[in-house]
């Protein structure tokens, strides 16, 4: 394989593999920006994967599968929102329990679905005209999936909403200083519910993409820790959708290269990188001004009660 062909293949696959990472990260960014830590992403992804696969298999329509994945992922996240925001319970434990639950439920229901072939997966799209563009053409426009394109479009949209619209200002204020937001008449609980819900929907779709488009199949535990990478990537992205995009595709590329780069660096070390980098980022932003400028939302993982200051 010529160097150029190799690069094109790698980048093209990175785009595909990075898509669920990116979807999950975008959702988690919104949830954490509103102040809620959602450690249940892995669980939401895998139930999304199973729901998508089973519905796609039964109905023969992969898009219905994706829709179901979104619904189920969203429903799961509402449970987390309820315990975290309304019951004001420990968000860490709530998220972990939902991940366990998600892994368990998908394993239970998914039994017997392994090895079943999917009659109709999401179609691969090739835009012949655009794919003739040198280098970028084959990467972007040959054999990719509609969801990949939608995800790419989602990034500027979500970025714009977060930083340039009233909704985004509201979300960010709730995550930084819920007492202030509350005193200005903003419904902190509702904002948090909505953001967590968005996170769940996107996580579900990410899982659905895996089972219905990327590698149309169902295997128990097929998300293989992707949800945890998402948590790391959210930090690596400094809670910014644009950097999230960078991080997701970067790490997707590194994963693909893991085997290739073996002579120089062991694949395990590469796979450990998202996590190491997340810790490094946290250390980096721990100092005063950097914390304010780029750090985590100040009220992250702290339940809010009116009147308790």
């Amino acid at each position: 394989m010529g160097w150029e062909t190799w690069a094109i293949t790698t980048l093209s696959r990175s785009l595909a593999y990075g898509t669920p990472l990116l979807l999950g990260t975008l959702g988690e960014i919104y949830a954490e920006r509103s102040g809620v830590l959602n450690l249940g992403v892995e669980g939401m992804m895998i139930v999304g994967a199973y729901s998508a696969f089973s519905i796609a298999y039964i109905t023969g329509n992969p898009w219905l599968g994706i829709l179901m994945a979104a619904v189920i992922g969203g429903a799961f996240s509402l449970i987390h929102a309820f315990t975290s925001v309304t019951l004001k319970a420990n968000q860490v434990i709530s998220g972990l329990s939902l991940t366990m639950l998600g892994l368990g439920l998908s394993g239970v229901f998914g039994r017997g679905w392994e090895g079943k072939p999917l009659p109709a997966s999401l179609p691969k799209i090739t835009i012949s005209v655009l794919s003739k563009i040198t280098f970028l053409g084959p990467i972007l426009f040959e054999g990719q999936n509609l969801i990949v394109y939608l995800t790419i479009l989602l990034v500027p949209l979500l970025w714009y909403i977060l930083y340039r619209t009233r909704i985004g200002i509201t979300i960010r204020s709730v995550g930084e200083s819920p007492a202030t937001a509350d005193s200005l008449g903003i419904n902190v609980y509702r904002v948090r519910y909505l953001c967590v819900f968005l996170g769940g929907v996107l996580a579900g779709v990410a899982g659905g993409y895996l089972s219905v488009a990327y590698r149309p199949a169902w295997t128990e535990g097929m998300t293989a820790g992707m949800g945890w990478i998402v948590i790391a990537l959210t930090i690596f992205a400094f809670w910014n959708p644009a950097y999230g995009m960078l991080g997701a595709y970067l790490f997707a590329a590194l994963y693909h290269l893991a085997f290739r780069l073996q002579p120089w660096v062991s694949p395990e070390l590469l796979k450990a990188m998202p996590y190491t980098f997340a810790i490094l980022v946290l250390i980096f932003v721990s100092r005063g001004t950097l914390l304010k400028r780029m750090g985590a939302p100040a009220a992250l993982a702290l339940p809010y009660t009116r009147g308790e200051e």
Binding site: I167, I169, E176, S177, T180, A181, S183, I186, A298
Partner: protein, 514 residues
């Protein structure tokens, strides 16, 4: 002048009660359009409560609010803003990581849907800023601004919402003198443009400088409403603080100063508060054995920081502290405790106790490391229990047993427990901050008697309190703290109320060297 013509705001007979206290007791207030009207009073006089009623944060139990001749219901801050009443709080309601324009627009429903036209917003902000001389970079992040600039953002927020009545709650408490000047210039510009300003303060200088009229509140009632031009600082001080008769407890006479041992020497102490602003600016005083030195002043003038520096909970930036000739500047809390300094903290429940632990465990909170309570690594439960039982009977702590969790105790019993703990090791210095705050009469009396008993034993006590009466009755000498500086140290027996009031409100007085 008492005719109802020309009054923009009228508050009639406002009564607001909270459990245990009547914050506003039938207050009448009238504010004219286009004037700067000051509300003057000590802590607890009811100024902030009254303004919160006007701003819709509280509903009054009785009374009515009339704006422009029409009675109105202020059900919430939104309602207040609809009536064009805006409030600039003492503690800013800003989100530090958002920019100025984002903060101004936060929570506003301009009806343009979820999306924002930042250009229009920016233009509008610029227009208002220019009109009133409130320059600030709309895209700067709030945490990057100085305090004065942040306050300007708060004012812009209110003006952006088209308020024409501005309530300002102690606005100068966080500003430098230059920023204060700028603020006053701004206020005059606002008024020239037709706005009306109500200004809550306890500083006489400001009242005289900037207001047209002033209303003095004391203990929930209006004492007087005057034209600023027709009064002066001493008169206002008297009205603010005025007590006809001060009851002084019979205390045992103290020995001549020269013969007493100097226990605490504080030299030129400087410290910053939590926001990084100067809280103590060169505080110096001496404290002798067997005396109670009362620190008077409106809260927020450095008292908390003084207590924290002296007990090792806050670092000083300059100056030195000596305890019985030994330097303790910037020693840790643990070291100072070991030097036998007792601290009765300002926030009893948040700082002074561990609510979930039992009484007997709370009683050894500071001394658990020492024998007889611990032997090597282990706590000696028997000794801890005995200690608890003694303390409970000596200080009359009412509880089912010493195993009862501290959070179940009443305020008075919590304070008794704290006193038992702090005084059990026979300290030679006590730093007591608001020791009777929130206690019932019986507990208050008991605490005061305990402090006097310690005084008789020869203990030096620094008593910080918002209750001026308490300071006057208990102290031998009174130190008045204003804006982090010592305004003066007076002998309690001969001190003049008016003098104290003036000093508390920031007017320089000849310092008496004692």
């Amino acid at each position: 002048m008492d005719n109802s013509e020309g009054y923009l705001i009228e508050l009639h007979g406002i009564v607001k009660r909270f459990p245990g206290v009547v914050a506003n007791d039938g207050i009448d207030l009238r504010v004219r359009r286009g004037e700067i009207h000051c509300l003057l009073g000590e802590n607890g006089a009811g100024k902030t409560t009254l303004m919160r009623v006007l701003y819709g944060l509280y509903r009054p139990d009785e009374g009515e609010i009339i704006l422009n001749g029409q009675p109105v219901q202020m059900t919430s801050p939104r309602a207040a803003l609809n009536h064009r009443v805006g409030m600039v709080h003492q503690h800013f309601r800003l989100v530090p990581t958002l920019s100025v324009e984002e903060n101004i627009v936060l929570g506003l429903d301009e009806g343009t849907g979820p999306f924002l036209n930042f250009r229009k917003t920016r233009e509008r902000i610029a227009a208002i800023a220019n009109q009133f001389g409130l320059s600030v970079d709309p895209q700067a992040k709030v945490w990057q601004l100085t305090v004065g600039q942040q306050q300007r953002v708060e004012i812009l927020k209110v003006l952006y919402r088209e308020a024409d009545i501005l309530i300002m709650d102690e606005p100068t408490s966080v500003l430098t003198p230059q920023e204060v000047d700028q603020l006053f210039t701004t206020l005059r510009t606002l008024v020239d443009d037709g706005l009306t300003i109500i200004f809550i303060t306890h500083k006489l200088d400001e009242v005289m400088r900037v207001s047209n009229r002033v209303t003095v509140l004391r203990q929930g009632k209006v004492v007087a409403t005057l034209l600023t031009a027709e009064t002066d600082k001493p008169a206002l001080a008297r009205l603010m603080v005025g007590r006809e008769v001060v009851f002084r407890l019979k205390k045992s006479p103290i020995e001549q100063i020269e013969q007493r041992e100097k226990l605490l020497e504080v030299n030129d102490l400087h410290a910053l508060n939590d926001r990084g602003l100067p809280a103590l600016r060169g505080v110096s005083f001496d404290l002798f054995a067997g005396e109670i030195l009362g620190v008077a002043g409106i809260s927020g003038n450095g008292q908390s920081e003084l207590a924290e520096v002296l007990t090792g909970l806050r670092k000083s930036t300059k100056g030195r502290v000596f305890l019985a000739k030994k330097e303790i500047t910037n020693c840790s809390a643990r070291e100072i405790t070991e030097l036998n300094v007792a601290h009765i903290p300002e926030e009893r429940i948040r700082m002074g106790i561990v609510p979930a632990l039992s009484i007997r465990e709370n009683l050894i909170l500071k001394k658990y490391r020492c024998p007889p309570f611990s032997h090597w690594e282990f706590l000696k439960n028997k000794e801890v229990q005995e200690n608890a039982q003694c303390a409970m009977s000596d200080y009359q702590i009412a509880a089912p047993s010493c195993e009862t969790p501290a959070k179940l105790l009443s305020g008075g019993n919590i304070q008794r427990m704290i006193l038992a703990r702090e005084l059990s090791e026979n300290p030679n210095l006590i730093v007591a901050v608001h020791p009777t705050y929130g206690l019932d009469i019986g507990a208050t009396e008991q605490v005061r008697q305990i402090l006097l008993a310690q005084r008789k034993r020869g203990v030096a006590t620094l008593l910080i309190s918002e209750d001026l009466e308490e300071i006057i009755t208990l102290s031998d000498r009174i130190l008045v703290l204003f804006n982090g500086e010592v305004m003066g140290i007076l002998d309690a027996e001969s001190a003049d109320i008016e003098e104290i009031g003036l000093m508390m409100a920031g007017t320089w007085h000849k310092r008496e060297e004692l």
